[in-house]
Amino acid sequence: MYRYDSIDQRLVEQRVAQFRDQTQRFLAGQLSDDDFKSLRLRNGLYIQKHAPMLRVSIPYGLLSTAQVRVLARIAREYDRDFGHFTTRQNIQYNWPKLEQVPDILALLATVEMHAIQTSGNCIRNVTADHLAGVAPDELEDPRPWCEYIRQWATLHPEFSYLPRKFKIAVTGSPQDRAASRVHDIGLHLVRNAAGEVGFEVLVGGGLGRAPMIGHVIREFLPKQELLAYLEAILRVYNLEGRRDNIHKARIKILVKALGPQKFRELVEAEFAAARDIAPRYDAAEFERIRSFFASPHYESLLDENVEAGKSREFRNWYRQNTRKHKVTGYRAVFVSLKPPNSPPGDITAKQLDRVADLADRYSLGLVRATHDQNLLFADVRQSDLYALWQALLELDLATANIGTLTDMICCPGLDFCSLANARSIPIAAQLNERFDDLDHLYDLGEIQLKMSGCMNGCGHHSVGHIGILGVDKSGEEWYQITLGGSTGGADASLGEVIGPSVAYDEVVDTIERIINVYVAERHEEERFLDTFRRIGVAPFKARVYAPAHQAA
């Protein structure tokens, strides 16, 4: 993984000093609440329902075990013993004390980490495919480009006060595992007819209040032009994006208002005009970055019959929670943060410490956070899988449910978040109770359930095969259900609202009825999403809202 040099290190240390000074000025009454808000929000610090919430950046989800141990220490010493992984591959802490945040940042800086730009109207953490570098279908590893973008975006003088937040995702595989089509910018490494590798550039995707799928504005961008092209997009957005209404300020609204074609013309014109002032591609610098992501030294191994003679539990876990690796004899292993008895994405300090130990022992000392709120060991020898499974089982990190209904994305909701309309964590718990039979889940196959406690859509509900959105109706918690969303790839889609929203205690029954319609209608082995696409929303609507269950 990328390691800091003296410039990177000095920058994060100076950021800590700057934030310490800002915090002291605030506590001394020299900064108003509003002035401090705009500063702390550039550093991942929100004031939530119960306490501040600190979001720590994990660039493209990649962590060393030394970093994981520091995350554990922060959970233990500054929080209530746990942290929560997010859909931007970051981690957030729900109980830090405001005056201690500078100390937390100082601790993070000792392991090359920070909270820069994890909130605020700036370029956020750049995310990537969690299987980057090990996926068999990958054209090229996106992570060196993510790091290249990360450095360019960090404290960018021109683009730190944008109309609204700005999210970039990069993938290098035809299968989109980074939800790149619902990002402000999605970058896909692709090969053109001449055999060169460059970027397909999508702009204007996004979730939240007005979910949209991004538009391709450049079919092929030579790699060397990446930063210059990003600057052109950002400059057009910074100058033309709306600032009068927070709900219309994302770039997707600008792209929609102008039309993708007109937006593309503006970007291309700016790109051409800025040619001599844009950041130049520095091949030596890029190679320096890329060298940190060189393929590790893999042993020459043979594929094993991993399942032979093993228990059913292990075989379930192996099939469900591990993935094919590009190197023979290895597997990528999900560490499920979706056990039935704890909120999706949560992890305790003890689990973090043990995850670090296990990654040192079994996965080359690296851990990845995935955008669907699990962890991943990317490089596990097949011969170690059984021992790793046993260790994970002891830690309650081996729930064999990856890709199933209970591997849901879920925001913190009304239990923690001051933006939320409705709780999401207790709904997740109820779903886990209702769908507690793994065999049943396996029969149902791949279902992505995504849940947000409000329109902001941190839980990606708009692109869930099943989406659940918390809404406020006269002070009560209600839930709108959508079906058929997907981040899958070229066929990414937004979910369709199935009908009137349902009350808090009706949600799980409603989901079960939806599942029953699917089971009745599905062709053999057909995925939920494919059944939905084949039969449409009507049969679901008709049978979910049977008269006895008519909702308000």
Binding site: D5, I7, R10, L11, Q14, R15, A17, Q18, Q22, D35, S38, L39, N121, Q151, W152, T154, L155, H156, P157, E158, F159, S160, Y161, L162, P163, R235, N238, L239, R243, A273, A274, I277, P279, R280, D282, E285
Partner: protein, 161 residues
């Protein structure tokens, strides 16, 4: 007399806005962009120094031919969420090669100065009552940067070009 930060020093402002000095007695006037557009020919021949004040939506390209005459451009910030001025400054400095005084004016606060300076602003008119001594320290928040930029007076260590 109004004080501001210019090239990292606290100085008295030797410019007046048009509404502060209607007759231009001080021979250094800053005109609103619209007025400059309308009365350009007349002011061109005036014997004082001229500046132009841009609002966030004013197009900087319209000034590109005026730099022989216009020695100061003031860019307005209506609040911390107003970020167009950063791009306006970059364009003025880098694309249109404006070499005169580039002033940030309005609701700017200490912690923006580092970014503003990197975009090419070299003078800063903070709201009345702001502690300029404290604001001066903002330029030293960072000694390193990842991007090349149009900054004046900040000598930052960079890796890439």
């Amino acid at each position: 007399m109004r004080q501001l930060i210019r090239r990292r020093e606290i100085v008295n402002d030797d410019w007046r806005y048009a509404d502060e000095d209607p007759h231009g007695r001080d021979r250094a006037l800053i005109l609103p962009f619209a007025r400059w557009q309308q009365e350009r020919n007349r002011w061109w021949l005036w014997d004082g120094r001229l500046g132009v004040r841009l609002g966030p939506a004013d197009p900087v390209a319209a000034l590109a031919q005026d730099f022989l005459r216009v020695g100061l451009v003031a860019i307005e910030f209506g609040g911390i969420a107003e970020g167009r001025g950063y791009s306006q400054a970059q364009l003025l400095r880098k694309r249109y090669k404006f070499g005169g005084e580039l002033r940030a004016v309005g609701k700017i606060q200490r912690d923006q100065l580092f970014y503003l300076a990197r975009c090419g602003f070299d003078s800063f008119e903070l709201p009345q009552g702001a502690d300029l001594q404290v604001a001066l320290t903002a330029f030293d928040d960072f000694s390193v940067a990842y991007q090349g930029a149009a900054d004046i007076g900040l000598d930052l260590e960079r890796r890439a070009s």
